[in-house]
Amino acid sequence: MAAINITNVSKIYAGGVEAVKSVSIDIADGEFIVLVGPSGCGKSTLLRMVAGLEAISKGTVEIGDRVINDIEPAERDIAMVFQNYALYPHMTVYNNLAYGLKNRGTPKAEIDARVAEAARMLEIEQYLTRKPRALSGGQRQRVAMGRAIVRKPAAFLFDEPLSNLDAKLRVSMRGEIKQLQKRLGTTSLYVTHDQLEAMTLADRLVVLNGGQIEQIGRPLDVYHTPASTFVASFIGSPAMNLLRGTREGTQLHFGSQALEAGAMSALPADLTIGIRAEDLRIASAGERSLTMKIDYVEELGAQRLVHGTVDGKKLTAALSPEIEIAETIALTIAPSRLHFFDATTGKRLVQSPDASGPARQRATTLEPAIG
């Protein structure tokens, strides 16, 4: 158990490519932090620097009160779970779990006890004498987790551990990882490119883009008040609609169409407007609305994703399946649900007043939206 402090850490590869640019994250003891971002954003590099598998070019990483920049991975008191499990193929499950402990000269009796405990926790007791080859993907992943658990490390590092599993198993393993982490209370750093995994697992998530932190926050805070257009489009599925528009008085103009948006005096005239698909609703008669020309419809069961164009701009709306759909529909949105971003920098401009409340019902529609 320990806090991890990452301070101004950079990774500069030979040849001058800066994969991670001065990243600072303070992770509290027992916290579950998820690093999320598209491939190539530096999230794995950052994790591997914490693990000691990559040298830290600049900055410091502390685990507990120790600066671990120049300490061997084995001495850092961490355990890592890899995407492809990285189990030793020629060793039995028992030996896979015990190998790290043996190398540390742990007494045999204690190794036995710890392996038995981890195996019981992960329900892999009956496989201890098997080789990894004879296990399914999910079982292998459990063994990989077991190898981390037996060490009783200060921190768990997960490098996309669920990416090799099928969709259904991924959902159940996700739940297990979350519960296990809560039960053990071990500080965890988890890397994924899957925003859904990030949302469901994280105490706080860190959105990375191009080696820099875009936003750190609790999952719902990030979801409801994305700090930039990048975060807005990355977190949430379907991705937030981002439309270029202009402000004229209390109205937002999207090409030839316009919406009533209430008072927006502090905002510049040119804007990028963010609209969550599930915030759109069918406009009642006489209301100012956007007319969407429908291209195609995705049925997800619990909801229906309607893709179309408004004045040539792509828009997606998540509607209830009960709503009849014609070739065009009139959509509108509550002004408080609009997100405003700077048209050039993409930074968030104003906090929507009620957006940070965690108990908003629309968040519950997230799960089926992945389908």
Binding site: G52, P73, A74, A86, Y88, H90, Y99, R104
Partner: protein, 280 residues
């Protein structure tokens, strides 16, 4: 699916005939008397002197010094074959391990230099090698027979390719598990390479077993003679009358084939596995 037709069988049977036929002729001929062979040529029927010919070949003391027996030559061949194969494996595994896992400067150039020597046969460097061994006073020793042949581009190349196919995460997991370079090699790399080792062992054993030129050059003392040399020697030295002991030459040739065949049969399963698949 392809249905087996008569023609396919004909091809297979011809293969068997051409490959096994000569062996059978050698085996049958070796059971006749030398004079008989001299008069009537090669035989395809058993001749009734099987046991005494083979006993003679294995136990009779011959050569200039009258001390070297067939058994002794077989022993020498085995020592050469096994020492050669084992030494090559150890050396090329260590070389490949260094090339793949230690990022030292010029690693790629070093590898390609080693790889280029694949193109050069032993004969190219046989004189300098002999000179070195002679200066070190290692002629007429097993060390002199084996050590100069150990450096193996083929083995290094195979092991390098194999190590490269082992996922990096395994190394990383081992590092986090507290295994240093040596421990990782012994605990992970060697067990994973088992099938590869078997495959290389077979190839190298047979190669070492069949060496002729190098042993001929390196050894003048008859107690170091190998089987392959013995066969040649029979026709030159063991001539009692005017007729060479053809039967004994054939018997020795058959005996020379047995150990490689056995090695191949024992390691066959691993051999095929090692060259075709890997369980990682």
């Amino acid at each position: 699916m392809h249905r087996t037709k008569l023609f396919d069988h004909v091809i297979l049977m011809m293969g068997v005939f051409f490959m096994v036929g000569p062996l059978l002729v050698a085996l049958m001929t070796s059971s006749h008397e030398a004079a008989d062979i001299h008069r009537n040529g090669l035989q395809i029927l058993p001749g009734g002197h099987f046991i005494d010919t083979y006993t003679t070949v294995l136990t009779r003391e011959g050569g200039f010094t009258g001390k070297i027996t067939g058994l002794r030559m077989m022993m020498n061949s085995l020592i050469l074959g096994i020492g050669f194969a084992a030494g090559k494996i150890v050396l090329s595994m260590l070389a490949a391990y260094a090339l793949v896992y230690f990022r030292f400067r010029f690693a790629t150039i070093t590898f390609w230099m080693i790889f280029t020597t694949l193109l050069l046969p032993l004969e190219v460097r046989i004189l300098p090698s002999y000179e070195v061994m002679n200066t070190l006073k290692l002629t007429n020793t097993y060390t002199g027979l084996i050590v100069p042949l150990l450096a193996s581009a083929t083995g290094t190349f195979y092991f390098r390719q194999f190590f490269k196919s082992i996922p990096d995460e395994l190394l990383e997991a081992a590092r986090i598990d507290g295994a240093g370079p040596f421990k990782f090699f012994i605990d992970v790399i060697v067990p994973l390479s088992k099938t590869m080792i078997a495959a290389i062992f077979i190839i190298m054993f047979v190669y070492g077993w069949n060496q002729y030129l190098w042993p001929t050059l390196m050894t003048t003392d008859e107690s170091f003679f190998t089987l392959v040399r013995g066969i040649k020697q029979i026709l030159l030295v063991w001539v009692g009358s005017n007729i060479p002991d053809y039967n004994e030459a054939f018997a020795l040739a058959i005996l020379a084939m047995v150990p490689p065949v056995m090695i191949v049969m024992i390691f066959q399963r691993w051999f095929i596995k090692g060259l075709t698949e890997s369980d990682k």
